[in-house]
Amino acid sequence: MKILYFAWLRQRVGRAEETVDLPDGVTTVGGLVDWLKGRGPGYAAALANPALVRVAVNQEFARLDAPVKASDEVALFPPVTGG
């Protein structure tokens, strides 16, 4: 699975993009976020406050109960502030 990070979430994770092998049992956005938190202190810090984490699956906003699969492009980022 391709995972992208943006803004301060990218800075805390320490990378803009990575490709991961999705472990068995991770089938939802929420499951993915929980699994990512365990990948290191940068991830844990970036994802500590769920209220500040937005997720897009294949470039559409997705909720925590949305399904994810290995072929998806998933992005994690803070609330948007454009315009």
Partner: protein, 157 residues
């Protein structure tokens, strides 16, 4: 029409292109968002701002938002141009424009586009100040503005 670009845009040229040749347009409402340096004694002055975005999703969301405006109002033409990259105070960030037979539709649709864009388009602002960089936080008032349009679409027409 939507465009996501690093370079500045010419508001007059863009608005002209949008309406030229269409004689059913009675009104053209537009909005330009600018980099602001408040010089607020409570805050640091903003020396510059960098807009990060999510290429691909940005274009997709802007196209979705524009399509939604066309579903809600009778528009002859519309335009969203949003820049990314580094900009200094006074520079243009975004241009939104809606042309319609009637001015109410043009005004409503233009405001709708800005409100939705602020909460749905994947852009993030990083400000450079004397005391360092800081990410702009999302504002509750922007969420409230976007919620204005989530009621019955007919009510906004």
């Amino acid at each position: 029409m939507i465009r996501v670009q690093r370079e500045d845009f010419d508001v007059g040229v863009e608005l002209d292109k949008l309406t030229r040749g269409n004689r059913t347009i009675g009104g053209l409402a537009s909005f330009v968002g600018l980099v602001r340096d408040l010089h607020d004694p409570q805050e640091d002055g903003v020396a510059a701002m960098t807009l990060e975005h999510y290429p691909g999703m940005t274009e997709k969301m802007l196209a979705n938002i524009e399509a939604e405006a066309h579903r809600r109002w009778q528009l002859d033409a519309s335009l969203i141009i949003h820049r990314y990259g580094r900009m200094e105070p006074g520079e243009r960030i975004v241009l939104v424009a809606c042309a319609s037979r009637h001015r109410d539709a043009a005004f409503d649709a233009c405001r709708f586009l800005m409100d939705w864009l602020k909460t749905k388009a994947p852009f993030w602002k990083l400000e450079e100040t004397a005391s360092g960089e800081r990410w702009v936080e999302a504002r509750d008032s922007d969420d409230a503005a976007a919620r204005r349009w989530t009621k019955d679409p007919k009510a906004a027409e």
